[in-house]
């Protein structure tokens, strides 16, 4: 069964339906692959027994009525930010060491109801703060294309598991690029849906006005399939939309003829790697050949995206992370002193360096005397970003950019300089600021064999068009079918 792990999600669904393979076989293959690739650090926790029990149940359902849905029996992974009842949820932080989720979040509940097999919990930057998965308190994850390089982040473990075949798909979260950038760096597909498309209930909060749940998969069809399974209104998340969930596979093969694709002049500036630039230029030429019209557009506030994003996300994070105080869950320190001392000791020992840096920055910009100059200013600039996109989408159906300015960087290359690390999100954060859906898909490799990602950004609720445009490109290439050599 050496090739089983290389199947796509929809390929496995077809094989399960045809009876060519069982869910137990697929699950065992993923577990074996996860163990064989343990040095990549994708999983923080593998739930062997739970996964195999779910797989046996799926096989029994299929044997009984044969009419299970496409996710029934499909093994998937979850970023360790999702609450799945009975499984750990550490957010890769020491402060949640030993925390076991008491209930299922919305997306996880939907996956279970669809019959999916949950393999375990995947590595990430602590509290989703980072772009390399080096900020995990449980050790960095590594890029399967070159283990000396980062997989991106913060959903790095999810990207590694999908790229290296130890899950047929995974859920990630994206606050400033945390699905798309690791997808790009690991050569897989990842989508941040429109804000409100997927409920955030049962997802550990980082920056609530930016956080969104999304799929990470081997190809665009898988992405549509998984998105359809987790989208929808949830009474437990008042920001989740009541908009109807379409069949994301319906029309996905429709092509891009007549589609207007915007190319923002501000995105093709210094700092973009020449090989990335060449791959995007080639993709744009492909789109033109396939009948799309390329239109130069302007997103003039792009140079301010990172500054705006870091002010808003740290302010929201400092508030959201106030709940980790050693009272209700997690690892308490200093319990022999008074309450205040316990707070200080628990938080001081439990949070890692990057999380402390962001809590501090957020606390500073929210504090008396600085709020207007920093927070309010950033929120006003956020309005300018929305206007940039509103104006752009009067002219075009979607915007094409690189996902990341470079391919995967080396472990340790950016850890000493937070701003350098932040700049790796320059092309992704704008979509979060404006609440827009955005898709990353493979569009080539560097001469050194590292994947390059293409990003498509669309207006609110335009996921079907983004998937169609992504699929139109994917049909012309075999980038998404390449797999790293992870087993010897």
């Amino acid at each position: 069964m050496a090739d089983l792990c290389d199947l796509t999600l929809h390929g496995l669904a077809r094989a399960l339906k045809a009876g060519d393979v069982s869910s137990v076989e697929a699950t065992e293959a993923c577990l074996a692959r996860a163990e064989a690739t343990a040095s990549l650090g994708a999983y923080l926790h593998l739930d062997r027994e739970g996964a195999l029990a779910a797989a046996r149940a799926a096989d029994a359902r299929r044997a009984q009525d044969g009419a299970a849905g496409p996710l029934d029996g499909v093994p998937l992974g979850l970023k360790d930010i999702f609450l799945a009842e009975g499984l750990q949820a550490t957010c890769a932080s020491k402060i949640l060491d030993g925390f076991v989720a008491p209930y299922d979040g919305f997306a996880v509940g939907k996956l279970r109801a669809a019959g999916a097999v949950l393999l375990g919990k995947l590595n990430m930057d602590e509290f989703a703060m980072g772009s390399s998965t080096e900020h995990s308190a449980y050790g960095a994850a590594r890029n399967p294309w070159d283990p000396e390089r980062v997989p991106g982040g913060s959903s790095g473990g999810s990207a590694v598991a999908v790229a290296s075949g130890s899950a047929f798909g995974a859920l990630g979260t994206d606050t400033g690029g945390s699905i798309r950038q690791p997808a790009s760096l690991c050569g897989i597909v990842g989508m941040k849906p429109t804000y409100g498309r997927v409920s955030r209930y049962g997802v550990i909060a980082f920056a609530s006005s930016l956080d969104q749940v999304g799929p990470m998969t081997k190809d665009v069809t898988d992405c549509g399939l998984l998105l359809g399974a987790i989208a929808g209104h949830d009474p437990f998340d008042s920001t989740s939309a009541r908009a109807e969930v379409p069949d994301y596979l319906d029309g996905i093969e429709g092509g891009v003829a007549g589609m207007k694709l915007g190319v923002p002049k501000e995105y093709f500036v210094d700092g973009i790697d020449p090989e990335v630039r060449a791959a995007i230029d080639a993709a744009l030429a492909d789109y033109q050949r396939l009948g799309a019209e390329l239109v130069e557009i302007s997103l003039p506030h792009t140079p301010y995206a990172i500054a705006t994003y870091y002010l808003i996300c740290t302010a929201e994070a400092s508030s959201n992370l106030a709940r980790y105080d050693g009272v209700r869950y997690g690892a308490r320190q200093g319990g022999d002193g008074d309450l205040k001392q316990m707070y200080f000791a628990t938080r001081g020992a439990g949070f890692g360096g990057e999380v402390k840096r962001r809590i501090m920055l957020g606390t500073y910009v929210l504090s008396a005397g600085y709020y207007d100059a920093y927070c309010l200013k950033a929120q006003k600039v956020r309005t300018l970003f929305r206007r940039d996109f509103t104006a752009a989408f009067e002219k075009v159906d979607a915007i094409v950019t690189p996902t990341s300015p470079t391919a995967a960087f080396r472990l340790g290359e950016c850890t000493d300089d937070p701003i350098h690390m932040y700049l790796s999100d320059i092309f992704t954060v704008s979509a979060n600021l404006a609440g827009l859906p955005a898709l990353s898909l493979p569009c080539g490799f560097t001469a050194g064999g590292l994947p390059i990602g293409l990003q498509l950004v669309g207006p609110h609720w335009s996921e079907p068009a983004l998937l169609r445009a992504g699929r139109a490109y994917e049909r012309e290439h075999e980038w998404h079918t390449r797999r790293p050599e992870v087993t010897s």
Binding site: G98, F99, V100, P102, T194, G196, S209, P235, F236, S238, T239, A241, P303, Y304, A307, T308, L311, S318, A322, V327, Y329, G330, A331, R332, G335, D338, L339, Q341, M342, Y343, F344, R347, G348, F351, K356, R357, I359, M360, L361, T363, Y364, S367, A373, Y374, K377, A378, Q379, K380, V381, R382, T383, L384, R386, P418, I419, N432, L433, A434, L436, H460
Partner: protein, 97 residues
């Protein structure tokens, strides 16, 4: 619009954030915060007079669910992760003498 943060301010912010900050981390963190604040100062180049702030990026209404009582987590489940349990509540260190 900014003055770069000094170590006394960093200590004050750590106090507000309820973070133990070892003395050996103080200088490094102050330096990092200073560099980040310097970086974000670029926003002052933009004229935002008369611009409304955005707190949410989509214009969707907030959907409140019906105000109906429903069962919450059972007490034992809710307390299962508690570092300290006292009866049916969370145990905390003494607050007042």
């Amino acid at each position: 619009m900014t003055r770069i943060i000094d170590e006394a301010q960093t200590r004050h912010i750590a106090e507000l954030a309820r973070l133990d900050l070892p003395a050996e981390e103080l200088a490094g963190l102050t330096g990092d915060l200073g560099r980040i604040l310097e970086y974000v100062r670029q926003l002052s180049e933009l004229d935002t007079n008369g611009i409304e702030p955005t707190t949410h990026a989509t214009d969707l209404p907030t959907h409140l669910r019906a105000d109906e009582a429903r069962p919450g987590l059972p007490v034992d489940v809710g307390l299962a992760d508690a570092p300290e349990r006292i009866g049916d509540g969370f145990g905390v260190p003494k607050i007042i003498e």
